[in-house]
Symmetry: C2
Subunit: 507 residues, 2 copies
Amino acid sequence: MAKDNKTAINPRRDEDYPIWYQEVIKAADMAENSDVRGCMVIKPWGYTIWENIQKELDDMFKATGHKNAYFPLFIPLSYLQKEADHVEGFATECAVVTHHKLTKNSEGTLVPDGELDEPLIVRPTSETIIGATFSKWVNSYRDLPILINQWANVVRWERRTRLFLRTAEFLWQEGHTVHATKEEAVDETIKMLGVYRDFAEQVMAIPVITGEKSESERFPGAVSTYSIEAMMQDRKALQAGTSHFLGQKFAKASNIKFQSKDMQEEYAWTTSWGVSTRLIGALIMTHSDDNGLVLPPRIAPAHVVFLPIYKTDEERDTVLAFIEEIRTEIRGLGRYHERHIVADVDDRDMRGGEKNWSWIKKGVPLKVEVGMRDIEKNSLAVLRRDNPELKKDFINRDEFVKNLHATLDDIQKTLFDRAKAFRDENTRTIDDKDEFEAYFTPENKDKPEIHGGFALSHWCGSVQCEDELKDLKITIRNIPLDAKEEAGKCIHCGAPSKRRVVFAKAY
Amino acid sequence: MAKDNKTAINPRRDEDYPIWYQEVIKAADMAENSDVRGCMVIKPWGYTIWENIQKELDDMFKATGHKNAYFPLFIPLSYLQKEADHVEGFATECAVVTHHKLTKNSEGTLVPDGELDEPLIVRPTSETIIGATFSKWVNSYRDLPILINQWANVVRWERRTRLFLRTAEFLWQEGHTVHATKEEAVDETIKMLGVYRDFAEQVMAIPVITGEKSESERFPGAVSTYSIEAMMQDRKALQAGTSHFLGQKFAKASNIKFQSKDMQEEYAWTTSWGVSTRLIGALIMTHSDDNGLVLPPRIAPAHVVFLPIYKTDEERDTVLAFIEEIRTEIRGLGRYHERHIVADVDDRDMRGGEKNWSWIKKGVPLKVEVGMRDIEKNSLAVLRRDNPELKKDFINRDEFVKNLHATLDDIQKTLFDRAKAFRDENTRTIDDKDEFEAYFTPENKDKPEIHGGFALSHWCGSVQCEDELKDLKITIRNIPLDAKEEAGKCIHCGAPSKRRVVFAKAY
Ligand SMILES: [Zn+2]
Ligand SMILES: [Zn+2]
């Protein structure tokens, strides 16, 4: 449909994937960089996707017994000092508040004033402040479990930032739970990993591999860290969510103790788990094509957009009235997966071609044109965005309404199946070292083409092998939960190995 | 029901209102102070109220054409410098970020490092950063109006803080809109004031007076500021929301210009409007009684709580099964005002009296006890929390389910009517200066009893009269939108006045 066989997004994915990614965001009007270093502005089309992520995940958290709460944005330096004393690999790139006032100097210039006795850190994550609070909430086994989630903004001072994927400030949720027994805390960790998997696969149509991270990739201080890993269209992995079993380490640091049923004082067992606006990056890179964003219906800000086509004011009235009737019937269908169907009308004063393309680039699942001839035929010109050919179908109006929920479900399924097929095509079981290295080596080293994928290969468990593979930019994404015990040899050093892990280049 | 005629909350409202307020929050387990100066922890029962406020208001914002977006937490100092140069009364108590790193010194102590070239301010409000962004979004009249809302945390370095009413960090929404004409921007300002009024009255059951603030109480830089004002049970006013018409002042400071239909370059007209977690303070002080929190159903975290009563395991099974059946029927009723009905069961292992009182103190609209005898009679022991006598009614089980939505609506209406009657009883039209001053003077000056209320009196419009009345702690709350023109004399100086305003002591 684009002129001269050009695509709406330039460059295409195969030409320059990182720039393609930026251009998709721009073309869909999802977000932009702000004047504040590393901080983004999330525009309505991008933010509504985040709101939909929140609604769906929040329902799942609540269905599994969690409640939301809110903790301070600031963390006293002394809390982080305590953590730094206990935890290796503690991150230190963060925003430090040192003053509580601005004062005009003699030249009328505002300068920081009112120095704080103790600097405050803008939360990079809330383990310490929530731990300090939980230590006051927990006295007896009767107070357990504590199952809390927080939706919040966090700040990490990243050097190189990319919209959604890595920004200084980002939005996320962080679950924090406290349990009386190790077993219960481990179960919680795995349960929430499962919630993330179900959410990614069912709502975002992103197939993921659930598994445990290797020791070197663990959250600092965690006993074990689990992740969901997705494959992007450049065949790199993206870690889309993590769930940590923290053992008693954080309970000891925060002094979370309880009296057990048999009157013993014990340290509690804690977990934490989170996903962030990074998920939107994963969404874009999983489904979008060379004409822009493609959205699964369950997460799309709008399910349907009607574009009225007319020449005269009279025709306009007729067309808009016809559309209004359809929208009323759509409302009558009730909710689609708990959300009201959003069926918008775009009656902006702009060229038809431009308007048409704007919705293709925004990835709305169903774009529907309505003109006088369609009305005569009681038919609609429908474009399903999951069709890469951008082919219009002429569908009977009543059929369209009757089948709307089923059509949306079908788009959802098509996108998931396509993403899963892509991942499967680009996942290879490799046992030979040369083949392994060749798999991850681009032909064009200066400007690597899309290459590689996931390699299911044996690993001996040594950090040294992991480190040496990092020179090739290969990391262990995770050790799949469903990995079978199978004798083999480490793909790198040849030492004995019990199971295959997922190797990939990653975001 | 409380022993010895004591109330659940000590002190009572008439004994010490400020302490009563704190005790209600504590007894309902809504929030607590954190270790971080002036920042609160909002606990699940308090936070769920905020979530319900968000859901309801957000629907109203979207129904009036607004979309949500997200802007950076940090504001460059230079943005505030520009504002300080243009705006009188610019606030300077804020959190200043000066470093982006923590480094361990030779003693292993973390110290701020990596000084920023330009300090960043944690947003106290987002006019400047949003204005800078809008200036890039607006080119032509076709880009207007821009109707954006942000849900966010903000920080103002308050000296004296009180949970929900005044905290250093608080949660809020801030609407920011841009229009091509003055008329449209004024209409928007008033429309959103109306949304706040409808929300406060219909959802929170808080009657409010809508009106314009006097010049001295305007948002710095605004052309006009409007507010909704509610009366608390100590007869003080609480400003529960504001809507500002900003004229072209902020557009000029942020350079928001557009090309009009007739190709002229013009500055745009902007508005902003907001409500915050302060609304929860207003909710508490409007409805609660000496036995704790009282919640209007439309904002309550739970609508119904069932308390099972049993002696043996066998009885427990019977009672819980009976309750489950009722809960299933309740789910079958569908949504209550767009929300699923929340009907919880409290089967915690604790003394019955304590458990009973915990729900009274939490203000759940309907508390339902179910024991073996109730099952025999097919009846339920229902306590409507809006009944100050805490009287139990025995209601047929089927009737209870059938009438549930109507009962909740009736509680909602009762709370609104009661609050409105209270406000009306404590609102007086006063034309005599002595009466006016006596009205606002407590008998006990050391520890003022609850006194005064709203006075509808004439005001000449002078700042001097306003200032002098501040010595008596009296402020003009607002000039009601529906105030009739009426000749009179200023209650303070006797100069001619055209209309009555609302005077009160205030939070
Ligand atoms: Zn090895
Ligand atoms: Zn006067």
